[in-house]
Every structure is written in structure tokens, then in C-alpha cells.
């Protein structure tokens, strides 16, 4: 008797394929394979009978919407609210402005470097697309949206402008270092605010790495995307997970 049916042939036959003459002949002469086929068909019928959808909990869309809405423009009232404007005195706002200044400083340097090293038309960064996430109307310490999934391509332009993974690592390291330096010079700053600033830095740089991987041809359905993004950023960071 020839070899028993392969698993692939068994799956095909169970799913309704006609199969090759050889497989059909074998099946007719082999009670063991006929029994295997009957077992698989019976199991498939039980699996097909399982319910697919399950009623999703209420409020899921609201949670998705929260992630994908663009940041709301700051209202005139909040801009003039004491303590959050440039003239205000809230430590949180002062801290945000310091981080923004540090970020703006190194981003400007990185963009200039990228433009200098890669000036070719069509390849080089368009300075107009660079948007500093800390000076774009959001409070970096209170906007909890995830650059990875917020849907607004804030980080894509940054990734291009930074000149790829090496640029992301340089910029990210500079950002984290700047935060550490500011914290060291301001011993009164609460630890949780320093940690929050570090989180923002990690999330933004991971977002840039993610966008870079996407620009490189991957998409969210690519299994490698998250790994590549994580490696691009964490390869040059101090190891904190974004």
C-alpha cells in the first residue's frame, strides 16, 4: 500500500477538494486514512458551528475615537488661563516649555544636519513638513495620545527630517539627555513630571521610528513593523520601553 495521505492532502479533502487520483485511490483502499478524514471533517463541522462575533462592550468606539481624533485646537480661554501661558507660573507649564525648548533646539540641529547631508531634490527633507510635537498647540505633558496610533502623522515628517534610524537614535538620545539635564538643574521638579516628560520623549521617538518603518514600505499589517520600529528607537535609547 502506498504512503498514507499527507496532512495537506487530508486538509484539502476535508475542505471539499476533489484530490488527486492517487489520493482518492488510496482513500478507497485505506480504512485508516478514511477514518482520519472522517475525524477531520467532523472536527471542522464543530469548528464551523462556533459563533464568530461576540457582542463588543459598549464604549469601544468612543475609545477608538479618542485615539484617532486630531488634537483639539487650544481655545482662547485656555491659552489665556493663568498658569498655562508663557506669562503663567504653573510648574507644569514651565517644565513643558523647557522641554519644548530643548526639543526645538535639537530638532533644529537634526533637521539642518539632514538637509545638509541629503540635499538632493525629492530625497531631502522638506522643512515645511517638520512639526514639533511639543510646540504644535498641545501640552506635551497632558496630551496622552499615542503617536503610534493617534493617526495624525506628526512623526512621519520628523522621521524623514531626522535622516532615518540613526537620526532618530541621535535625536532621541539627545532629547532624553536634555530632560535629564533639566531635571538635574531643577531639583524641585516632581519626579512624576520628569517621568512623564521621558514618556513623551519615548513615545514620540517610537512614533517617528514607526513612521520611518512605514515609509520604508511596511504597513500596520506587517509583522515586522513594531519590531523594526522598536529596534530603530531602542537601539539608541537608554532602554526604557516606549
Amino acid at each position: 500500500m502506498p504512503e498514507h495521505l499527507s496532512n495537506d492532502a487530508l486538509v484539502d479533502l476535508a475542505a471539499g477538494a476533489r484530490g488527486s487520483t492517487r489520493d482518492r485511490d488510496h482513500l478507497a483502499a485505506c480504512p485508516a486514512c478514511a477514518g482520519r478524514l472522517a475525524d477531520v471533517r467532523e472536527l471542522m463541522a464543530r469548528l464551523d458551528a462556533l459563533p464568530g462575533p461576540a457582542e463588543a462592550p459598549a464604549g469601544l468606539w468612543e475609545r477608538v475615537a479618542e485615539r484617532i481624533q486630531p488634537a483639539a485646537p487650544q481655545s482662547a480661554a485656555s491659552r489665556s488661563r493663568p498658569g498655562v501661558g508663557p506669562a503663567g507660573t504653573a510648574p507644569r507649564a514651565r517644565w513643558a516649555l523647557r522641554v519644548a525648548a530643548a526639543l526645538g533646539f535639537f530638532l533644529a540641529g537634526a533637521v539642518a544636519q539632514a538637509a545638509w547631508t541629503d540635499p538632493g531634490p525629492g530625497d531631502g527633507p522638506a522643512l515645511g513638513i517638520v512639526e514639533d510635537p511639543l510646540t504644535s498647540g498641545q501640552d506635551p505633558l497632558t496630551s496622552g495620545d499615542d503617536p503610534l496610533t493617534s493617526g495624525e502623522d506628526r512623526s512621519g515628517g520628523v522621521a524623514v527630517a531626522l535622516g532615518g534610524a540613526a537620526g532618530i537614535q541621535r535625536a532621541g538620545t539627545a532629547w532624553v539627555t536634555a530632560i535629564a539635564a533639566i531635571a538635574a538643574r531643577s531639583p524641585g521638579l516632581p519626579e512624576d513630571e520628569v517621568a512623564a516628560a521621558r514618556e513623551v520623549a519615548h513615545a514620540a521617538m517610537f512614533g517617528a521610528a514607526y513612521e520611518l518603518a512605514a515609509l520604508d514600505g511596511a504597513d500596520p499589517a506587517s509583522e515586522d513593523l513594531y519590531r523594526r520600529a522598536r529596534e530603530a528607537w531602542l537601539g539608541g535609547s537608554d532602554g526604557g520601553a516606549p
Binding site: N7, D8, L10, V11, D12, A14, D39, V40, L43, M44, R46, L47, D48, A49, L50, P51, G52, P53, A54, E55, A56, P57, L60, W61, R63, V64, A65, R67, I68, Q69, D146, L148, T149, S150, G151, D153, A214, D219, P220, A221, S222, E223, L225, Y226
Partner: protein, 182 residues
Amino acid sequence: MALAPGSNGEEDLVERAGRGRDHAAFEALFHRYRDHAYGLALRLAGDPVDAEEIVVEAFAAAWAGLPRFDGRSAFRTWLHAILLNRSRERRRAARRRRRRIVSVADPEAWERAVDAAFPGTRIDVERALAALPERARETALLRHASGLSYAEIADAMDVTIGTVKSQLARAYALMREKLSDA
């Protein structure tokens, strides 16, 4: 029960959500796939809280990726791929944090969750599915709970059709063994 292939203006919704950044179109897509996505995520994660997170993260990632969605595969296939990736990512993160998955740590809690989500389901079959290795379970779920074709599963999992069949054969063999022991 299989998920029907996308139709009824789905291409238009995808186009409007992707190129036009139309939230209403994306919300319509969300409601079309929400319950199926949640059912799949629940079976993948074994925990309702994780399942919710997987669905939210997957749709948020889909929104971010839609402008680059090229339509080479169907939207539902692409969405399944994202769901699988988010599920794997959460499992990896849970392993890194040494957090135990409910289906492993607390079979009774898992059974209650599955029973509540899928009233009348065959719990012996669910248990055998849940015990499968990750890739075999994913393949069996995409085939039987989502009703994807071999080619669509191969696309969603980024593997060959031969691998899909091998994983299915493995899943069936392991499940038969498990069910016959029960």
C-alpha cells in the same frame, strides 16, 4: 459562523476613511467589524479586558495605516492581520512583564468569559482551541471563526498557503487528541 466578505459600499468607506480621513466612514467600518474583531480578539487573548484593548489598538492602527492601504488584499484581511499583530504584541508584552494570561492562570474565569461572550458555544471545542499553540490557534480561528480562505489567511499571516494547511492539520490533530482525552 463566517464573516461575510466586505461588500455594500465597503470600498467607498475604505477610500473615504483612508484618503479623505473621514471619521464617519471609519466609524461605519468599525461598526461593521466590531463584533467580529472582539470575538476574535477574545479567543486570541483569552481575556475580555485584553480583547478590548486589542480591538481599540487595532482600529487605531488601522486608521493610522489606512492612507497607505493599497487594496491589494481585502480590507477585512488587512484588518485581521492588524488584529493578529496587536494580539501578538500584547502577548509578548505580557510575557515580558511576566503577567500570566487568564486562559492559563484561571481556567474558570476564562470559561465564564467565553460562555458570556458566545452563549451556547461548545466549551469543549473552545477549550481545545484555546490550548493550541499560538500559530495553529490563529490559523484555525481565521479559517473557522472568521471564514477566511486559505489565500486570505496566508495574506493576513504573511505565510504561504502550504504553511496555512500545515498549521490547520496540526491544529486538527492536536484538537482531536485533546477532545478524545476529554
